[in-house]
């Protein structure tokens, strides 16, 4: 039962990540490879704030989201003016820089040793100790995230985002400041990814840089792309599939060292096959231009 809760919580956390990425990937058509980094900033910020300053859980999450949104400006303002492919490379680089900071800024993050003893959260006096409590909190937050993203993409704001995706010059000609829309959407997406990181940190109570590598970013991208980047349910289904399917490897009885490699090969292969067979994903309609 505990194992089942664990899988559900992880699926939930990854759903937040994939839905947040789908806001920019599916609706503007720009792919961020830095989402694992944003996820990591959230995890580190709220972990450090609660450990060193005794900051309440919710405030930590909120501050993490704000810091991450500001950090995202460093990448979005220089590179969003360029062609989409250059944005992918720029975020790739940004991901490497963020990982480097997690791994090498020993004084702050303790580097590869990681941070342990992250307190379990409590919200307004409700101590979230058991897995079932945590599952409730994550599911509620996941639903909120999906709600926020859904509300945004069905609003006029979302229509402008898709306008940029289909024809940026035309959208500019309609008097929209497209750079502002792209920058704000990425900041929001990064903030949501960061909240997933805070949840993860307080759930596992231990974080180290290996959870926030470029491979993690590729995993999040796979979830979004396999599910369908511009649909509502696509990223959710993608996250659930990619979290649960590799668990089957455990039941076949493959050694865990091998399982890690096999799992990543599976993601990689799935990406290639998906691009050939159905680049718009299982439920999506948009294919990257």
């Amino acid at each position: 039962m505990e194992y089942l809760f664990h899988i559900l919580i992880l699926s939930s956390i990854y759903t937040i990540l994939s839905v947040s990425l789908s806001l920019v990937a599916g609706h503007i058509g720009i792919l961020s490879v830095a989402h694992a980094g944003f996820y990591g900033i959230g995890a580190y910020t709220s972990a450090l704030l609660t450990i060193h300053l005794g900051c309440p859980f919710l405030l930590g999450v909120l501050l993490g989201m704000m810091i991450t949104a500001v950090v995202s400006l460093f990448i979005s303002i220089p590179s969003l003016r360029l062609h989409e492919d250059y944005f992918v490379i720029a975020t790739f680089g940004f991901q490497i820089i963020l990982f480097s900071i997690f791994n090498n800024w020993i004084d702050l993050t303790r580097g590869p040793l990681g941070i342990f003893g992250i307190p379990q959260p409590s919200i307004l006096g409700w101590k979230i100790g058991s897995d079932i409590d945590f599952l409730i909190v994550t599911v509620i937050w996941t639903a909120c995230t999906c709600g926020i993203v859904y509300r945004l993409v069905t609003s006029p704001y979302g229509r402008v985002l898709r306008g940029i995706r289909e024809d940026e010059v035309f959208t500019q000609a309609m008097g929209k400041n497209t750079l502002w829309f792209k920058v704000s959407a990425l900041a929001l997406s990064a903030g949501l990814a960061s909240s997933a990181g805070s949840l993860y940190a307080h759930y596992i109570t231990y974080i180290d840089p290996s959870s926030f590598t470029v491979m993690e970013s590729i995993l999040i991208i796979s979830m979004v792309i396999i599910g369908g980047a511009d649909s509502l349910w696509g990223p959710i289904i993608g996250a659930v599939i990619l979290v649960t399917l590799p668990e089957l490897l455990r039941f076949i009885g493959i050694k865990s060292a091998m399982a890690a490699n096999l799992r990543q090969m599976f993601y990689g292969l799935l990406l290639v096959i998906m691009m050939i067979v159905k680049p718009s994903g299982l439920l999506g309609r948009y294919r990257f231009k």
Binding site: G29, L31, I75, P78, S79, R81, L82, H83, E84, D85, Y86, V88, I89, A90, G93, F94, I96, I97, S100, I101, N103, N104, E168, V169, M215, I218, I221, I225, M258, N261, L262, Q264, M265, Y267, G268, L269, L270, L271, V272, M275, I276, P279, R287, F288, K289
Partner: protein, 297 residues
């Protein structure tokens, strides 16, 4: 160590490191030019070529030069097979640069994990024989392999420049680079040109991978890390220009060595990418590149 000797060693190390960046970058940009997408699996080919030499020369005790020759050929074939099986199909389906980039990233992940599954994650050493004292150049020292890296980079650069500007094949590659549709109308087989670029580019990736393997040994992440620097060199040099790529590679080598002297070395990747971001911000077309249009490259 006195000041003069230290600086000449730093400059020599910069030349060696810069040569590997430039080698990786030249192969990467040769493929990018006609195919117009960021071929991340290039890094996978770098790794695979190194491990192929290891498998043949160390595990099966084959002659080193024969192993290298076979590995280079296989690397070129591997790149061509990717083009034939995946990228050609994606182009025919009008798949965009981003779609091809994602597929290429997928291939990179598969290759990297395949290598790690077969050979493990430990560092493997290729260089045979005993450790020799390096050659003395001025006040600095250089090993045979490192000298090989520097010379190979020069030879590859000259050959590619000759190929692009003095042969019919190069003329076709440049035509497709400028405007694939127009080249097609003039009777150039775009598919064939891209296949050739993949074949030659992947062979260069193989050369880079094997040289790095002889110099510092093998890990499954070898190609991934080499690719970073190659991409930074290619983009900051002007991605379709081999001359720009080589200059940027050497310049990057100097910056990396000086920064390694000032800061702990684990920050190198972060510094390289900061340089890339600065280029994207201030001069997105690179040192010698043509200006980019924002919508279509």
């Amino acid at each position: 160590m006195d000041q003069g000797r230290m600086w000449s060693q730093i400059l020599l190390n910069a030349l060696i490191a810069g040569s590997t960046y430039s080698l990786v970058g030249i192969g990467f940009s040769l493929i990018f030019s006609p195919a117009r997408f960021f071929h991340m699996a290039h890094g996978g080919i770098i790794t695979v070529a190194g491990y192929l030499v290891y498998a043949m020369a160390v595990l099966f005790k084959l002659n080193h030069s024969l192993s290298i020759f076979i590995a280079l050929f296989l690397a070129a074939i591997l790149g061509s097979v990717m083009e034939l099986l995946v990228f050609r199909r994606l182009r025919q389906q009008k798949g965009s640069g981003t779609i091809q980039l994602i597929a290429s990233l997928g291939i990179l992940v598969v290759l990297q994990n395949l290598i790690s599954l077969v050979f493990g994650d430990d560092v493997m050493v290729l260089n045979p024989g005993v450790v020799k004292e390096g050659l003395q150049i001025g006040a600095a020292r250089i090993t045979d392999v490192q000298l090989g890296i520097v010379l190979t980079n020069i030879v590859v650069f000259l050959l590619i420049s000759f190929l692009l500007h003095r042969t019919k094949i190069g003329w076709m590659i440049r035509a497709v680079t400028d405007d694939a549709e127009l080249a097609q109308i003039f009777g150039i087989s775009v598919e064939l040109v891209i296949l050739l670029a993949f074949f030659i580019g992947s062979a260069i990736a193989g050369i880079a991978g094997i040289l790095i393997a002889y110099d510092i040994g093998l890990t499954p992440l070898l190609g991934f890390q080499a690719l970073f620097m190659g991409v930074v060199a290619a983009i900051s040099g002007g991605i379709t220009s081999p001359t720009g790529t080589m200059l940027a590679g050497l310049l990057l080598g100097i910056i990396m060595q000086i920064s390694a002297w000032l800061l702990p070395t684990q920050w190198q990747e972060a510094i390289a990418f900061t340089i890339l971001l600065l280029f994207l911000l201030l001069r997105p077309q690179g040192l010698l590149g043509k200006p980019l249009r924002s919508k279509k490259v």
